[in-house]
Amino acid sequence: MDSVVMPWIAGLLILVMLGAALVALLSTSHLVAVAATSVVSLGLTLIFVLLRAPDVAMTEGVVGAGVGSLILALALKRLGLLSRTQRSESDE
């Protein structure tokens, strides 16, 4: 059963990754681009799991999808390119 389903799952993941990569490339918002690169890393993580490389999958998930995106987002913040709807503290 595994061998029947696996190629379809892998194909779906590759499609998602390609879509996310295109979004990262073409999006006009920096934050969306960072999130899309994270999605690419997440897809790659799952593909590594399918390929039975759990060590590499963990590294890719933790570094690529997690801290890598965090560092990119923090860099955006430092450069003043990250914008979000500001909620003032009096709102609480």
Partner: protein, 239 residues
Amino acid sequence: MSRAHRSVEWTPLLFSGGLAFLLFSLFMGVSFGNPPMQVGGMIHQQGAEALGAANLVTAVVLGYRGIDTLGELAILFAAATAVGLVLRKQKVVQPGEGIFLGELFDHAVQLLPAILLLVGFYIIFHGHLTPGGGFQGGVIVAVALYLPALARVSGYRTALSEERIRWMEGGAGALFIVIGIAALLTGDGFLSPMLGQGVMGSLLSAGTLPVLYLAVGLKVGSELAGLLLHLSAGEDSWS
């Protein structure tokens, strides 16, 4: 507030196309399943017996390629130092100064570090038994150390100040090298495993490999935590 926009760059697409073509033409020359290097097969046959680590990847990373790992740590150290150097004038964010993102977030940020530390150190200590190890667990530890800086609950302090994180980083790097030199003193090569193998699959096995991975984990964790704290410091462009 207006959204920050960016112009779409087509150069990366062109670059990746060229890279894909190069890789494609490279791989056409290598037959599938017949690696030109023989060392992989040799390690596969002998690694488990020679080092006693249930996770063969760890045996390669720390046993056969220990100096490469030391090089990786050096690269990480150089990168983190460079970031610290560039951003050094900024004030590092201390707990209680973060951005207020709601009660739920604040309390989650207080609870999560303990769980993250547990998971991180579990992955580090079981690096020679199960997938994972110092690098993966270290990154999780780094996030655990960084999270409190995001909280804004008064009175909450992280156990580690920036100063202590720096000491941890230096100590872990020194531990790795000291173990390597100790192996030299026993008459073996630099970083060659010591202390026997133990029973494969038990927590205390594979000689010095778990200790080396603990050093790697602490170094990666403290280094990345310091880098994240530095990056999130400075003038607050959220507001």
